[in-house]
């Protein structure tokens, strides 16, 4: 087999270490877990170097391996801390709705230019902070759905939940994230006057 020219493990850490680390951090929100998975990715790549066809870039190949490691990590977390009924019944406190199901205090108007948010480094930090405040299974479900763009059937298999439960989990995750961003980002930026 001809080894592609770009293939040189001694340069991997320099070349792809930071990239793979950021990729993992966005999905795991945990520094040491991310570092471990980057290491495992390189080791698996080294062992299985024959699987690199040269058809895709080296970075794409490595990310493909990392993706599998991340899914395994989610599976592991779902097994360690299975969802309990309480997780699914009640929304976070304080409840946003009164007993008749009306908003206690409805969503605020978000000022600024929300369409450009993704360009702001600080917004990324705040988003990650808010995501970390969800329970791991909720955050993982949200990540698989909204960052990875996976369909619900795939996510159900990874997290070992029924589709009905997943809808509830995603609903709760979105509601909590929205509230967190409103409190810590949009209300703040209105106070700042921007």
């Amino acid at each position: 087999m001809e080894i592609p020219a770009s293939y040189d493990p001694s340069e991997w850490v320099d070349r792809y270490g930071g990239y793979l680390f950021r990729y993992a951090m966005l999905r795991l929100r945990d520094r040491s877990a991310s570092e471990d998975l980057v290491q495992e990715t390189f080791l698996a790549a080294l062992k299985d170097r024959g699987s690199f066809s040269g058809g895709s870039s080296e970075a794409t190949w490595l990310v493909g391996i990392l993706k599998h490691k991340i899914a395994d990590y989610y599976r592991h977390q779902a097994r360690e801390a299975p969802l309990e009924d309480g997780d699914l019944r009640e929304l976070s406190n304080p409840l946003p709705f009164d007993r008749s199901g009306h908003w206690v205090s409805g969503p605020a108007e978000w000022g600024g230019n929300p369409a450009d948010l993704y360009r702001e480094k600080k917004f990324l930090d705040q988003f990650m902070q808010c995501l970390s405040e969800l329970s791991p299974n909720h955050a993982n479900a949200f990540t698989l759905r909204e960052i990875e763009g996976e369909d619900t059937k795939t996510i159900c298999k990874v997290l070992n939940v029924s589709e009905t439960n997943l809808w509830v989990i995603l609903h709760r995750a979105r509601m909590q994230l929205r509230q967190c961003l409103e409190t810590h980002w949009f209300n703040r930026s209105m106070e700042r006057g921007s």
Binding site: V13, M25, L26, V38, W103, G106, L117, F127, W167, H171
Partner: protein
């Protein structure tokens, strides 16, 4: 008649599957008259779009900016690779 609590749940669900017609109509009727739930829907969609763009930006950036491996982790990984 659907309450705001029901409608927020259905708005989220509609982002994961296409709702049965009756529910879809119920939600649309509610959104016509409820300012808060319409705003809620707009904001969830904005969050979805923003998150996808953020992820695209993080995943596309190959240059060594922002967060990166700590020195300790680098050394540990380099060493583990050399041992193989």
């Amino acid at each position: 008649m659907l309450s705001c609590k029901d409608v927020t749940r259905l708005i989220s669900e509609s982002m994961d599957r296409s709702l049965p017609l009756r529910k879809r109509i119920g939600v649309q009727v509610h959104l016509l008259i409820c300012k808060f739930c319409s705003r809620y829907e707009r904001q969830l969609i904005l969050i979805r779009e923003t998150v996808r763009r953020l992820a695209g930006t993080v995943d596309a950036s190959r240059e060594p900016s922002g967060e990166t491996l700590s020195e300790d982790a680098r050394e540990r990984i380099e060493k583990s690779l050399q041992q193989r």
